[in-house]
Amino acid sequence: MADVDGAVKEAVVEALALDDDEVTPDATLMDDLGAESIDLLDILFRIEKSTGVKIEASDLGEYIQGGIPDDEFSDDDEVISATGAAQLHKVMPQTDPADIEGKLKADEVMTLFTVANLVEMVKTRANGAG
């Protein structure tokens, strides 16, 4: 198994044409590093090539939501519920449920996803879980 931390960092650096020191573990892929949907696709294919771990773009959302049904993850206005906020804290430990519950829209959760979160996801997948 390749060095996942290094492989993810290299994929992000190359896909986004960034300098090494810009890609820190706590940088969010979309907000801080400016990744768009095609960049995420590129990053995932690069990770697959270097580590052998295949992650579909659609898997990202499923991983973050952890199998919780939409109507439990967020309320009728698609704002994250307490259940949703607890799940987000599980896969993105840097998040504070108090800042998210009742405040963040469901379609904005990816904006919180960091390089370290992606590393963790790849490791989870490499171990056959998640």
Binding site: A15, I38, D42, F45, K49
Partner: protein, 259 residues
């Protein structure tokens, strides 16, 4: 002797059993590629192409499937990979025409032409993407037409389908470039194939050929060699290009005749 340019490369040619498609399949094989010759209904003709390639020392396989249907297009790609050991080049060539004046055209006829010409191109492109993106290498050549850029009485559905292919070629080029996948198109003018037989019947095609600056039709090999160029390493920095092979037809103004 230099190594063949397409050695160790596997190519799929949709609609490869006759016309321009057959010539492309043979020219790809001549440059060293293993070729999957796709056919929808002409199995015997596809086998003939395969045999001709094998007789010349090449590697080929006939792969049946209607690429206008996505599930079948996926199977065609999968069978190509299984039978020839991978996929690196897709030539989206399968096409039909159902010429009619718009006033007389059955509404179903534009959709039939669009489904095969543009749909087949879309389907095979999408079906090959995962392999191309994983290996970070691939070349797609779409066989379009100068009709996609200009108008012609009675060919509105065909021209629209080719115009769609041209726009799609550009978009694919932009989306896929970062994955090492190049996408280009060949735009033939007039070449003597079954598809344009109706134009030839009238006066042996003279009414058209005399309006072409080069005063002759393209041979299928001239179209095929351009497709092979776009599929291979000599065009390694080209993507999103629409190359006309039309003897100057689209370069001239109006009907091109001096007063």
């Amino acid at each position: 002797m230099p190594e063949p340019k397409l050695k160790d490369r596997v190519a799929l040619v949709t609609g490869g059993s006759r016309g321009i498609g057959r010539s492309i399949a043979e020219e790809l094989a001549a440059d060293g590629a293993a070729v999957a010759v796709n056919y929808r209904s002409g199995e015997a003709q596809a086998q003939e192409v395969v045999e001709a390639i094998r007789t010349s020392g090449g590697q080929a396989a006939a792969v049946g499937g209607d690429v206008s249907d996505y599930a079948q297009a996926e199977r065609v790609i999968k069978q190509t990979e299984e039978q020839l050991g991978g996929i690196h080049i897709v030539i989206n060539n399968a096409g039909i025409s159902k010429d009619a004046l718009i006033y007389n055209m059955d509404p179903g006829e534009w959709l039939d032409v669009m489904r095969v010409n543009f749909g087949g191109t879309f389907n095979c492109t999408k079906a090959a993407l995962s392999s191309f993106m994983s290996q970070r290498e691939g070349a797609i050549v779409n066989i379009s037409s100068v009709m996609g850029e200009r108008g012609w009485t009675g060919e509105s559905n065909y021209a629209a389908s080719k115009g769609a292919i041209n726009a799609f070629t550009r978009c694919c080029a932009v989306e896929f470039a970062r994955f090492g996948i190049r996408v280009n198109a060949v735009l033939p003018g007039f070449a003597p194939t079954d598809m344009v037989q109706g134009l030839m019947d009238k006066d042996d095609g003279k009414g058209i050929s005399k309006q072409i600056p080069m005063k002759r039709f393209a041979t299928v090999q001239e179209v095929a060699r351009t497709a092979v160029f776009l599929a291979g390493p000599d065009s390694s920095h080209m993507t999103g290009a629409l190359l006309t092979v039309d003897g100057g037809v689209s370069a001239q103004v109006g009907i091109g005749k001096p007063l």
